[in-house]
Amino acid sequence: MNTQASRIVVRLLVLIVAAVVWLATGRQVSLAQSTTAPSQPAAKRLSRSERLRDWLEAVERHEPGIVDQSIGVFDSWRPDDFQYLAIDLNTLVLLIEDPGLRTFFFKSGSRSRQIVYNGSDLKTMLALAMTARNRIGEDTTIPPEQRLQKNRNRVLERAAIFHTDVALDALLGGRSNVRAPLGLQSFTLLLPDGRPQGMTVDVGHWELARSILDKVSPAPARHEFVRGWYIATAAYLEGLGQLVPAHFDRGLHWFPDDAELLFFAGCLHESLAETRIQEAMQSAAIPSDVKFDVSSRRAELRAAESLFRKAVNARPDLVEARIRLGRVLSLRGEHAEAETLLRPAVEDARDPPLAYLAHLFLASEVEARGDSGLARDLYAKAAALYPNAQSPRLALSALEARAGNEAGALRAMAGVLALPGDQRIDPWWTYHQGQGRNAPLQLKAVYQSFLEEERR
């Protein structure tokens, strides 16, 4: 069985040319479902506590980062079952904390409602809670309160990992989720090559994972696993061209000063400002009760600038944030500051793709203010970093063309443009996904650290 880490590499290469916007809204709307629910077996339907038990067993069985059989637990689920899962998971967490509890409330949005279980369901759920509660009960070196918290958080983290892997499997393997329940719908606007090609509706596994991590104690903001999870999944989603504002909103809610999250959120808004996204939002046929969280180009660029600035202030060594801030400033017409930022970034960028992009962006700035000589030099340096990349060659050619040098214009680009497209590597082509290049490793590290902690 393949690991997610090895599979994403393949998918990244495919998706660099097919941007997909995934905007999870989770709104309660009615919309034609993209997939049909699998037919229910003739066998009797499981009770909700039995489904919770199956789910918990799958969570415990699941090997983080692996597409294993446990992921198939949802195959026979009906849409409503996911709704019950969200509710019953909440109950389970309450019971882990206080097994004597008999009155349960579930809060959804601003509404809170009481949940009543029959005796059989309650008994099963209590048994599940006790098992989870006592998992490391024998370790007397840990104070009881801390032990309880650890047990509770372990289940939640494992569950979040499980839903992350289910969501990634659907993304990477193209698996369609079962029909989505109201309230847990995730709407995906497909935009291959910038063309709106319909929407799909799936179960919001990312939403489930986020809501599960909201429950860790003492508070998600003080939890290193949650921070690492948000950073790694942000990188993963962006690396796959999935633009999910809700994911970043939640991450920044818990970690408003985290430089890496600020950086990824800045990248998200930079992408949302792109013409193809802006035009698609104007032209796509979107039901009136579904709202994608995309503002105007100007507002998105402003948001990106603000987030990148915060990221750079928090971590001045984050060269990638400085480069992107420089680009966004340029797009906003702040050319002098853009150049000031990009000049040192050209020297500081050690990673070849970053150095390449820094050279390109700085070259474009100096070209715009009329310094063709320096622009030529910078484009040439970018071309030297990636000899088969077309962008600096075209830029050099256009410099010659504008100077009236027709022969030079042709010469500057001829060599590279004669190469077959599949022999080219141009980091500009993956600019809007490139920030996620280390995502598989990042997520693997988060999972690894969870497993080490779990084994203790």
């Binding site: 040319v17 075209l394 009236g404 027709e406």
Partner: protein
């Protein structure tokens, strides 16, 4: 717009002026300006116009037209095809057929080239008089990826100006079914570069929700046109119509007088004493 080939002897220029309109020879002198002009009346090309019929104003200053050619100057035709992900199946077959239809109608003295673009811009055939080579290049195009429309259009413009001895007219036919999604070059920079180009750009666009404003502007500035289509079924006819229209354009030459030698020159082209439709580029850039 201005001829930037190596200057040739003044004697050639004199000989040019003596030549008959039926066998024109255009000057390669640095100062000469050529303008591709389409003159139509009720949608039909107007034939038989002579230099004296043209009223050309360079920055508002009336110019003396030296020479007018109609259908005699060999062409550099560059096909610039969007081969992104969406151009597959029937659409790709229609595109290949349209390319072949244009190539089949070229004269022996004409040249053709092929540029394809998705993420990558590829010069699949440099300008050549061997149309078969270009047709063969068409056959190996496989669609995938995004749309570098701006990069591809720029490349085609440069290529159209590149090949052949003597004066040639550059025609670029850009086909796309979507808006740009990945180019490095910005529309502004390519439009700026087009001010120095003699190539005329026609855009053939499959109508979609995306705006193709760049291609509209590029064709407008180069004096070309836009053909918007609902389906690619009749693409070959559309391409051939573009070629035919281009062939029926006049190539008008004059030596600028009374205007600055450098910078942007606004052009205004009319036909004296006739209410006809005139399409020509908006101006040209001279000097470095």
């Amino acid at each position: 717009m201005t001829l930037r080939m190596a200057a040739t002897a003044a004697a050639l220029s004199c000989a040019t002026l003596a030549a008959s309109p039926q066998t024109p020879t255009f000057s390669s002198r640095l100062e000469a300006v050529r303008v591709d002009v389409l003159v139509t009346e009720d949608g039909r090309p107007v034939r038989g116009l002579q230099p004296a019929d043209f009223d050309i104003r360079d920055e508002g200053v009336p110019q003396t037209v030296d020479l007018v050619s109609f259908e005699q100057i060999p062409l550099n035709v560059v096909l610039a095809f969007d081969v992104s992900d969406s151009v597959s199946g029937d659409r790709l077959e229609h595109l290949r057929a349209a390319g072949r239809a244009v190539l089949a109608r070229l004269a022996a003295s004409d040249q053709a080239g092929l540029v394809s673009f998705n993420n990558a811009v590829e010069v699949r055939a440099n300008l050549t008089a061997r149309a078969k080579d270009v047709m063969a290049a068409l056959d190996v195009v496989h669609p995938f990826g995004e749309t570098a429309l701006v990069d591809g259009s720029y490349t085609a413009m440069v290529l159209a100006q590149s090949g052949g001895n003597g004066v040639r007219r550059g025609l670029v036919i850009v086909f796309t079914d979507g808006a740009d999604t990945i180019s490095w070059l910005t529309p502004e920079r390519v439009l700026d570069a087009s001010r120095r180009s003699d190539a005329v750009v026609y855009g053939v666009i499959v109508r979609s929700r995306s705006k193709a404003s760049f291609l509209h502007e590029l064709s407008e500035r180069t004096g070309g046109g836009i053909v918007e289509i609902e389906s690619t079924k009749d693409l070959a006819d559309r391409f051939v119509a573009v070629l035919d229209e281009f062939r029926q354009r006049y190539l008008v030459s004059y030596t600028p007088r009374g205007v600055a030698s450098r910078g942007w020159h606004r052009l205004d082209v009319r036909i004296k004493g006739r209410k006809v439709t005139v399409k020509a580029r908006a101006g040209y850039l001279s000097g470095s």
